[in-house]
Subunit: 300 residues, 2 copies
C-alpha cells in the first residue's frame, strides 16, 4: 500500500519539512496542506510548499490516503476533529507529536472509525514556521512509530515505508515507553536548557550583556534548544508530565550528589563522573547521530 | 612592549592553539613549549608546534618575555614554581585558567618577584590534547584579563596586545567578578551537562543504546560540553566552588518553579518562560558569539 495523496495539517518546521521532502523524494504523491493561521497559509503558498493549500482542514484531508497532523500536541484533538468531515474510508491518520500516549488517545477518541498510526520523527531545529523547514531534515534521523494494539499491520508498514522514503530510519515502540525514552533524550534536556537560560538572564550579579558576551564558554550550547517553539514545548511538558517529572527527579538526585562533591572538595568523584560522560558523546558520533567536527563545526 | 620570546607551559587544546596562532599571526616571535607529559612533548615535536620543545619547564621559560601557563587550574601553583628558576627579570607570567581569583593568588605566591597578569581566553572545544588545537580558536572570542591592583599598565597592555594579535577581543575585569560571570556562562552549563549526561546513561527504564539512538531530540547538544577534559573541569569546580554553588542555588530555584508549573499544569507560566529565553539566543547570534545556521549547521 503506497500513498497517492497525503494531507499535512500544520505547516510549521516539521509539517513544511515533510511537504518539501515528499516533493523531492516522492514526486508522484499529491500533497495538500493546511494551517490554522492565514498568515502561514499565505507564506506556504508563496513558498510553493504543497500542490494545494486549503483554507480549511477538512478540505485538505478530502481524498487523502494519509493525513499527518503536525500541530502542537495540545491541539491534536481539535485538529483531528477538524479533519473528520473530509476523511475517506480507509484513510490513515498519523501525527508527528513529541509525546505519544496522550496523543494516541486523543486521536482515537476524535476519529473512532479511522486507522490511527501515531508517529514521532525525532528531528528538528531551533527554528519555527514554514520557512524554517527543509527536505533533508529527516535524513538518518529516527522516526518512532507507536501503533496501538489493534493497528492493522499493513497500515503500520505503509507509514513506516513513508518515513523511510523521506530518509528516516524507523523504529516501532509502545507509546508509554516512547514517552519515557523521549522524556530523557529530549524533554528533560529542553526543560534544563530553558531553565538555565532563564536563570542566567536574571541574575543580579551578572548582567545579561555579560552572559551573551561570554556565552562561548558553554552557555551558548544551551541557548539553541532554549530557542525552540514555546507553544510546542509548553504542550509537550503538559502532555508528558509524569515521565518528565520522573526523569527530573533522577536528574535532581544526581545534581545534588555533584553539588555535594563540589562543596566537600571531592575531586575524585567529580573526575570519575566527568570521565564516564565522555564515552556517551563518542557513541553518539559513532552512530551517526551527531557531527564529529569539534565545537559542532562552528566557524572560527 | 612587544614580546620577542614566548614560552607556553602545557600543550593541550589551549596551549597548542596559542602555539599555532603565534606561529601564524606573530611569525617573528620565538616560541618555546613544555608539557609535563613526555608523550605530549613527543607529539608536540611531531606536530611542529613550537620552535623548541623543552624537557623541563624552567628550560622552556629561560629568556622568555612572556610565559603562559596552560595547565589545569589545580596545577598552576606547581607549574609556576617549576618555571621560577628559568625566569629572567621583567618577564611577564600569564595563564589561561577558567577561574581567576585562586589562580592569581597561587601565581603571586609562587612568583613574588615577577609580574603576573592572569588571563582567560573564553574559547575551547570538547576535544583535548595537542592535536586538538588550531590557530583560529581565539578569533572573535573574548579574552578576559584580570590584572591585580598593582599590575603595571604597560604589562597589562602587552598581554592585551598579545591576545588581540591572536584574534581575540580583550576585556579587563576584576578576578572575583570574572569568577561569578564564568560560573554562569561556563561552569554551571558544564556542571548541568555533565549531570544530565550521567543521569541519562544510568536509568533503568531507558537503555543507554536508546539514549544514544534518539539523542537528536536535544540530548546530543549537552553531550558536547560533557565530553570536555575531566581533569580540567574537576579543577575548575574545586577552584571556583563558591561562585558555582551560588549560581547552582539560583538554577535550582528556577528549576523547582518550572517543575511545579508542570505538576500543576500551569501552561501560561511555561509558555511565558520559554518565550523569554528565545530572545537570549537571538542576541548571542547578533553579537557574533554563535552561528545562526539552524541546528549548529549540522549536516542533514
Amino acid at each position: 500500500m503506497a500513498f497517492q495523496r497525503v494531507a499535512i495539517v500544520g505547516l510549521g518546521l516539521i509539517g513544511s519539512s515533510i511537504a518539501r521532502a515528499v516533493g523531492e523524494r516522492l514526486p508522484h504523491v499529491a500533497v495538500t496542506g493546511h494551517d490554522a493561521s492565514a498568515e502561514v497559509r499565505t507564506l506556504a503558498r508563496e513558498l510553493g510548499l504543497c500542490d494545494t493549500i486549503a483554507d480549511d482542514a477538512a478540505a485538505a484531508a478530502v481524498d487523502a490516503d494519509l493525513v499527518i497532523l503536525a500541530v502542537p500536541v495540545g491541539r491534536m484533538a481539535d485538529a483531528a476533529a477538524s479533519i473528520a468531515p473530509g476523511l475517506k474510508a480507509g484513510a490513515i491518520i498519523s501525527d508527528v507529536g513529541s509525546s505519544k500516549a496522550g496523543v494516541a488517545d486523543a486521536l482515537a477518541k476524535a476519529l473512532p472509525d479511522h486507522i490511527v498510526i501515531p508517529a514521532h520523527p525525532v528531528a528538528g531545529t531551533e527554528n519555527s514556521g514554514p520557512a524554517a523547514g527543509f527536505a533533508t531534515l529527516f535524513d538518518s534521523r529516527w522516526c518512532i512509530v507507536t501503533p496501538g494494539a489493534g493497528a492493522p499491520g499493513e497500515a503500520v508498514a505503509a507509514v513506516t515505508g513513508f518515513w523511510q522514503a523521506l530518509g528516516a530510519r524507523v523504529e516501532t515502540m509502545d507509546a508509554a515507553h516512547h514517552d519515557m525514552v523521549l522524556a530523557v533524550t529530549s524533554h528533560l534536556p529542553h526543560l534544563i536548557a530553558y531553565t538555565i537560560v532563564g536563570t542566567a538572564s536574571e541574575l543580579e550579579e551578572v548582567t545579561e550583556s555579560e552572559v551573551i558576551k561570554y556565552s562561548a564558554g558553554g552557555f551558548r550550547d544551551f541557548t539553541r534548544i532554549a530557542a525552540s517553539d514555546p507553544v510546542m514545548w509548553r504542550d509537550v511538558f503538559l502532555a508528558n508530565k509524569e515521565a518528565v517529572l520522573a526523569t527530573l527527579q533522577r536528574f535532581n538526585e544526581d545534581l545534588t550528589a555533584l553539588q555535594q562533591a563540589i562543596r566537600r572538595g571531592d575531586g575524585a568523584k567529580l573526575e570519575d563522573w566527568f570521565t564516564r560522560t565522555r564515552a556517551i558523546r563518542r557513541s553518539i558520533i559513532e552512530q551517526g547521530q551527531d557531527d564529529a567536527a569539534p565545537d559542532f563545526g562552528r566557524k572560527h
